[in-house]
């Protein structure tokens, strides 16, 4: 799907999808018969879920737009996108040992939305209750974090997280009034912070109405990477190994900002997530699905069928996650769903690094990937972090994309970072 230039000395150009020439309405997948909410939980909480010690358990009725806690009444963390009854709660282990609680809800008739959000808004639009609601919007905006101390720059990003998706550009263009309302709300919430709108160059002309400081960026991967955007905006890179939030940056995707604007306008929570679908016949479609809709249901709506040995990917082609079942739900931050046949399956080999230097050239973080991989293959993770800049990685996946020896570079890097954080956690626990 990527056309490669004959001139190999040039860096590979990976343009993001664009939205130009008309804004077709997304395909609505309708109300699913059942949805699944996915909540990341800690390892200790996993056993609680398995022992059925959750508040949301089989038989509990949920109301659309209501907010619920998983373990206790006080910490509310889940908004229900549909009304219905919880049928079961189970756990799943995701990549890198992350645990998820899965709450299955059988949909009942679509009644009026729960008044909880409207009440919270009337009480105090900037209050903690209202922000908790807003943090659950499609795109997962970090409103709760924004209200806390220490955020000096807020990036409103119209750039995409990965290739093969254009939801942010669509949301920005099609829902501009809502986007402006959302952006103004963010400015009110954080009056001292610098709010910057980052958008592809071709959309720069449309940014005037928003009334923000803007920065135009070439629509090429990986320019939309949060860490790279932060560097571009502040002129100084986030310290290696620190997250964006720890350094005082927050990134809101355009879709999330528009959703917040709509929530404020309509006094109800939008629960439709925009997703770009890439089907087996290379067709792409923009769909709008209720958060929690199983992928199988979306495929049903667009007439795609999964066969044995297919590849199903949530998220983009460079940083997404491949999943083993089409019952996996769309979550608030799933921008793209890709499905392709086994013929497109990238093959890995047992070759060693041949030191061709392509990864070093393409790495946006200037890491010595060729030396790093030699340390990682031998499990020398600490040495890799100290000498070979492991912590500078922005997790774009380009090194693996370009690798001539088809080494799983990205996987090795992610594994090393995961192992190091786990070790740190363990050391902290031991220290206490």
């Amino acid at each position: 799907m990527i056309r490669r230039s004959f001139f190999g000395y040039l860096a590979a150009r990976l343009p993001y999808e664009t939205v130009q020439g008309g804004l077709p309405d997304p395909v609505d997948t309708g109300l699913p018969g059942g949805i699944t909410l996915q909540i990341q939980v800690g390892a200790d909480q996993k056993s609680l879920v398995n022992k059925k010690k959750t508040i949301l358990k089989k038989g509990v009725e949920v109301h659309r737009g209501g907010i619920y806690g998983l373990f206790d009444e006080e910490t509310k963390e889940i908004t229900a996108p549909v009304s219905g009854t919880v049928t079961s709660v189970e756990t799943r282990t995701g990549n890198y040992g992350r645990h998820f609680a899965l709450v299955h809800i059988e949909t009942s008739e679509e009644g009026d939305a729960s008044p909880a959000f409207t009440e919270a808004l009337t009480a105090d639009a900037k209050g903690a209750d209202s922000l908790t609601f807003l943090s659950q919007l499609p795109g997962r905006p970090a409103f709760k974090r924004l209200a806390e101390e220490g955020i000096h720059t807020v990036i409103l990003s119209v750039l995409e997280k990965d290739l093969l998706t254009n939801v942010n550009q669509y949301a920005f263009q099609a829902r501009k009034a809502d986007f402006k309302r959302g952006a103004d709300f963010i400015k009110e919430l954080a009056p001292t912070a610098r709010v910057v709108l980052a958008l592809p160059l071709y959309l720069e002309a449309e940014a005037k109405e928003i009334g923000c400081e803007t920065i135009g960026v070439k629509n090429l991967y990986p320019n939309g990477n949060p860490l790279l955007l932060a560097k571009r905006i502040s002129g100084k890179a986030v310290e290696a190994g620190k997250s964006l939030e720890e350094s005082g940056f927050l990134l809101f995707s355009a879709e999330a900002v528009a959703a917040a604007g709509k929530a404020l306008r309509t006094q109800s929570l939008p629960q439709e997530k925009l997703v770009t679908l890439s089907l087996k016949n290379k067709e792409t479609k923009l769909v709008s699905a209720r958060i929690g809709t199983p992928v199988a249901k979306i495929f049903e709506a667009v007439g795609e069928e999964l066969a044995e040995r297919d590849h199903l990917i949530l998220g983009g082609p460079l940083t997404g996650t491949s999943v083993y079942t089409s019952n996996m739900p769309v979550s608030a931050d799933t921008d793209a769903i890709i499905c392709h046949g086994p013929e497109n399956m990238p093959r890995l080999t047992e070759t060693y690094c041949i030191n061709c230097g392509k990864c070093v050239r393409i790495c946006p973080a200037h890491m010595p990937v060729n030396l790093l991989i030699r340390a990682l293959e031998n499990g020398l993770y600490e040495e890799a972090a100290e000498k070979y800049d492991l912590n500078s990685c922005v997790e774009c996946g380009l090194c693996s994309f370009i690798c001539v020896a088809t080494l799983p570079l990205f996987q090795q890097i992610m594994l090393a970072r995961h192992t190091l954080t786990e070790n740190e956690k363990r050391a902290e626990k031991g220290g206490l």
């Binding site: 490669r4 310290e239 199903l312 089409s326 990238p346 060693y352 890491m367 010595p368 693996s400």
Partner: protein
């Protein structure tokens, strides 16, 4: 959460650039052939024999090593064949069969496989092997002696020997056109300057050779040869002569750029190439050997790990 349709899972990224080690080896061999075919036309059947034997024995040596070490055969990646072909470029057309086989043994087993296979070799295998042959059997790597039976329309005296021992004016015997068309004595793939330049440009444009190395190597030769020539025009031949004779172009496009033994960051690549070019001319003009290109490449290979420590600061590193 499970269902009956079994899907394939793997780690991101799900896109791959199409270039593979095999494709890379074949492209390098294709570029080498552009220079070798004129050589074959000039030197005839003996040269064909040397090339074929070098490629075949290199593959067999690698297969033998794989079998002895109980590894999955790696000959499929084309790297062994490529090493054999590049070594053949450096040999005289009349090289005896046992020397070719010894050469590929040194190139494949002693300079690649013992260091852990592809990507692990500290030296460029064909360069190391040719240097070993040159030191072990100097008379068999002497193009004057080896090509004595070739009676051509042009001078079959090795231009480098002429220039070294009979003064710089002998360089005028060889016109630039002759050197470009392969009208000189030399290795099978090293005589045709035009072919080497076309092949080299192809490799640089396709991004297989790092162009920084090739161009800085050539500019190193040019600069130092020019300085020598300016200091004493009677003793030292000019830069164009040095660029088109001996192993210069082979070294610039096929030996110095060998992946595992050359640096990957920009500044180290420039130092590596320029240093290699300068050493070549130094050894030619001041050293005991007629052609210094092989030794220059090997010496710079030795410096590669240290050179490659000069690298840009990673993102967010304090």
């Amino acid at each position: 959460m499970t269902d009956s349709t079994k899907l394939i899972v793997s780690h991101a990224p799900f896109y791959r650039d199409a270039c593979t080690v095999m494709k890379r080896s074949y492209l390098i061999m294709a570029a080498a052939l552009v220079a070798i075919i004129p050589g074959l036309l000039i030197f005839g059947i003996p040269a064909v024999g040397v090339c074929a034997l070098a490629v075949a024995s290199a593959i067999l040596w690698e297969l033998t090593a794989n079998t002895l070490m109980k590894q999955t055969p790696t000959i499929g990646d084309g790297n062994a064949a490529m090493i054999g072909l590049i070594l053949a470029m450096l040999l005289p057309a009349t090289a005896p069969w046992w020397m070719v086989i010894t050469g590929t043994f040194v190139a494949v087993i002693m300079s690649k496989t013992v260091f852990g296979g592809i990507g692990g070799n500290p030296f460029c295998p064909p360069a190391l092997s040719a240097a070993v042959l040159m030191i072990s059997w100097p008379h068999l790597m002497n193009f004057n002696g080896m090509l004595v039976n070739y009676d051509m329309a042009w001078s079959m005296v090795d231009p480098l020997i002429n220039a070294k021992f009979f003064g710089a004016e002998t360089a005028d015997l060889y016109t630039t056109t002759d050197l470009l068309m392969g009208h000189q004595a030399g290795g099978i793939g090293a005589v045709c300057g035009a072919g080497l330049i076309i092949g080299g440009i192809f490799l640089m444009v396709r991004g297989i050779n790092r162009w920084e190395i090739c161009l800085s190597f050539l500019s190193g030769i040019f600069t130092s040869a020019l300085l020598f020539h300016m200091s004493n025009p009677d003793l030292y031949a000019g830069p164009i002569f040095h660029l088109l004779t001996g192993y210069t172009l082979v070294a610039a496009f096929f030996l110095a750029t060998e992946d595992a033994s050359s640096p990957v960051n920009t500044i180290p690549m420039l130092i590596y190439g320029f240093g290699g070019g300068m050493l070549t001319v130094l050894i030619r003009n001041k050293g005991a050997w007629v052609d210094g290109a092989l030794f220059a490449v090997l010496l710079m290979n030795l410096a590669n790990p240290i050179l490659d420590m000069i690298r840009p600061k990673a993102l967010g590193k304090v």
